[in-house]
């Protein structure tokens, strides 16, 4: 039976069909839907881990315990999980282990364009890259075969265009692989120097064996047209683009981006007029081929930035693109904080108090956008806390900066920064914007929501108790919609020499769909103060502001900032 399926769902399906028993992941666009779809299958276990490092460690434990296991994350998540990755490459596995990593060329929803293929090379772990949903499902199964055949973790890489596209997928039965017996072997699983030195030898032998093996795989294949035509080496979604842009070219489709099937490509190169490599981001395959002495051209024609496209390929080869009108210049529609977003009032206060804000990763990064314009820095998950601490140390405590982090991000990696700030006494102020969900990635549960990945009740990590256990003595809990209380708490916290934590609570506005009284406008003086909160439900009319009743959630933040009491809840 065939089904039109999202690639991330197809990866989940592939894991199911491959008999995967344990999956652990942290949400991250564009990888999130893998875990969400996998958990819907029967007889499997899947969970949200607090971060990617834990997710990979869970999967390693499950694999050494004998089950087929998977961990999923976005590209930057693999940085967090790099520590276990590099060493499980030495120890090897027992049951198969596949780590899915989703790169985001073009940065549709990310803070950088890192190319995760380098992890495969530097950790000595094979990496597969599918081109569409149907192939993704098959590649997952192949990845488990390789994992168990070569006693290695395997990386499966996808990019946003593959992860978030649908394609036809042929459904198959689940293969029940069972759980292999675990056998104690300190030499294999205890990676202390004496053992790891011996395992490194195994890793190098495995690399050599894999380099030969990948040349025999069907997922690495030449598609010949004519000896008089050029040859193009490509993988992933770029293969699809090449087939459209250069239909007469010979194509070498790479399925294992590490190790690159160099010997097979060398043979292909001899049968074509000239060899090109077309790949997104870094010249990973190109450099590999050049190092092997294969003459080819790639990044001389394409940028390291953004996504490849059919028009870009056509332009690089001097072909005419489809005729089209030029793009019309119209006002941009950037993402904004939703109407009723509980973060809005907090950023209004931080901007009003002219504080430097060390921000973090999540919806609340949008606090950087006008008119709130409150966020000064955003680097990576959890960075707000460490950076706020560093800024305080740099200025001997004089800087007027605060850290702002979401509940899910705090549990991911903010809590370690807080422990550092308490231990090393920087007296920072940390605001935890607790909206009881992982918002930006589409509302996933986490350890403080009281529910697990399946939506079943789960024990709750209490954020206030956690902070107190870290040694925080100055802690306030406020209602994020109570703008005055937020302002009072922030003023008190920044005046305090101690580390202060403010937990601003309110569930994400998109989760609470119960009908609520909306805002009415009465005798507006058109002063424009409410426009400074950047609410998409408020716009300037001729006789004062206008509330879009379809969008308004009645949160009342506009009323709290209005100096003339012109905004009131209906019925009040």
């Amino acid at each position: 039976m065939k089904e039109l399926m999202l690639t991330n769902k197809a990866i989940a399906r592939g894991a199911y069909e491959a008999g995967v028993k344990v999956l652990s992941a942290y949400p991250g666009t564009p990888s999130t839907e893998i875990a969400e779809n996998f958990v819907k299958h029967d007889n499997v276990y899947a969970e949200w881990a607090p971060n990617e490092k834990v997710a990979v460690e869970v999967a390693i434990g499950a694999a050494i315990g004998g089950a087929r296991a998977m961990a999923c994350m976005k590209h930057v998540g693999l940085n967090v999980a790099a520590d276990p990755l590099f060493t499980v490459a030495y120890s090897g596995i027992n049951g198969g282990l596949v780590i899915v990593v989703a790169d985001d060329p073009g940065m549709h929803s990310s803070q950088n364009e890192q190319d995760s293929r380098y992890y495969a090379r530097s950790a000595h772990v094979p990496m597969l890259e599918p081109s569409d949903a149907g192939e993704a499902k098959e590649f997952v199964k192949l990845a488990y075969e390789i994992s168990e055949k070569f006693d290695t973790p395997v990386l499966l890489r996808e990019t946003t265009r593959v992860a978030h596209s649908h394609g036809m997928v042929e459904l198959c039965q689940r293969e029940e692989v069972g759980v292999k017996p675990y056998e104690k072997s300190a030499a294999k699983y205890v990676m202390m120097p004496a053992n790891a030195i011996k395992r490194h030898v195994v890793v190098e032998e495995r690399d050599r064996a894999l380099a030969e093996y990948v040349c025999t795989l069907g997922c690495n294949r030449a598609e010949y047209t004519s000896e008089n035509e050029i040859g193009v080496v490509c993988s992933g979604v770029v293969y699809e683009y090449v087939k459209e842009a250069l239909p007469s070219a010979n194509v070498y489709k790479v399925g294992t981006v590490h190790p690159v099937p160099v010997a097979a490509i060398a043979a292909f190169a001899k049968k074509v007029k000239k060899l090109y490599v077309i790949e997104e981001l870094e010249p990973f395959i190109e450099d590999t081929l050049k190092a092997a002495g294969i003459d080819c051209e790639g990044k001389a024609l394409f940028s390291l930035q953004g996504e490849i496209s059919v028009p870009k390929i056509k332009a690089a080869f001097g072909l005419k693109a489809e005729e089209s009108a030029s793009a019309e210049q119209v006002p941009a529609r950037p993402p904004v904080m939703c109407a009723g977003c509980p973060h809005r009032g907090v950023f209004y206060v931080l901007n009003k108090l002219k504080l430097t804000v060390n921000g973090d990763i999540g919806c609340y990064t949008l606090g950087a956008v006008a008119p709130l314009s409150a966020v000064d820095t955003c680097v990576c998950m959890g960075a707000s806390v460490g950076m706020a601490h560093g800024m305080k140390k740099a200025t001997d405590g004089a800087s007027r900066n605060v850290a702002v982090i979401g509940d899910s991000t705090f549990l991911h990696s903010g809590v370690t920064g807080l422990i550092n700030a308490v231990y090393n006494q920087s007296g920072i102020t940390l605001l935890i914007l607790d909206n009881s969900t992982t918002g930006m990635t589409g509302h996933q549960q986490h350890p403080a929501t009281g529910k697990n990945l399946k939506g079943e009740p789960a024990p709750v990590v209490l954020l206030d108790e956690l902070c107190r256990a870290c040694g925080v003595k100055d802690l306030a809990i406020v209602d994020a919609y109570d703008v005055k209380a937020v302002e009072k708490a922030v003023k008190a916290a920044i005046a305090s020499p101690e580390v202060s934590v403010i937990i601003a609570q309110r569930p994400c506005a998109l989760l609470d769909k119960s009908p609520k009284p909306k805002m009415d406008v009465v005798n507006c003086k058109n002063c424009g103060v409410c426009m400074r909160i950047g609410c998409p439900a408020i716009s300037m009319g001729e006789n004062g502001v206008v509330i879009d009743r379809n969008q308004c959630t009645g949160c009342g933040v506009c009323a709290a900032v209005c100096p003339f009491h012109a905004l009131v809840k209906e019925g009040e």
């Binding site: 564009p30 999130t32 549709h108 087939k243 028009p311 589409g442």
Partner: protein
């Protein structure tokens, strides 16, 4: 081969519209690929979904000058992506105006007379009151299905098959409402 580009504002139901077209392709025994972007752009930003239906589809993405139809759920979004249309392609627009944040703050102006200008650019431009018709059918949330009804008529697609695809993609309890919305879009465009 048919390329449909669906443009709208996060939260307008563009994804469901693409799912219905995907189902239509399956029912018609065609190959199909859809491409969409989730994540940050969904927070009230512009969203674009690509639908490609044919005998064999490679790229999941539609490029400038290649769309047979642009299905726009908002007028400004129609203007933003209409250069994806091929010559003679159909621009079908939900007659609605949603101010983007730069227009709310006054940093930019929502273009005046946009509808009239777009209508004047080609005879293949259609504005439909999809929101009003959806409300008439029972829920404003069926705006996307009204749009699909209109698309089905304008592009001469198989009406029975599309109705079947709609029925398969909406929850059972809203099926009757959505079938009415589909019919209104088909009849009135």
């Amino acid at each position: 081969m048919m390329n449909v580009l669906i443009a709208g504002v996060g939260g307008q139901g563009t994804l469901l519209a693409s799912r219905v077209l995907g189902k239509y392709a399956m029912l018609a025994g065609k190959d199909c690929k859809l491409s969409e972007i989730h994540g940050m752009s969904q927070r009230g930003g512009s969203v674009v979904t690509h639908v490609r239906i044919g005998d064999k589809i490679y790229s999941p993405v539609i490029w400038e000058g290649s769309a047979d139809v642009v299905l726009a759920f908002e007028a400004l979004e129609a203007a933003r992506v209409k250069h994806y249309l091929k010559n003679g392609g159909v621009l079908l627009v939900n007659d609605e105006k949603i101010l983007p944040m730069p227009c709310i703050t006054g940093a930019a102006q929502y273009p005046d007379g946009l509808k009239e200008r777009l209508l004047g650019e080609s005879e293949n431009v259609y504005f439909v009151a999809a929101q009003a018709w959806a409300t008439e059918a029972g829920s404003v949330k069926a705006t996307n299905i009204v749009m699909l009804g209109a698309l089905c008529k304008l592009c001469g697609l198989d009406k029975e098959l599309m109705a079947e695809a709609v029925a398969a993609c909406v929850p059972e309890k809203f099926r009757a409402l959505n079938m009415k919305a589909f019919q209104l879009g088909f009849e009135r465009v």
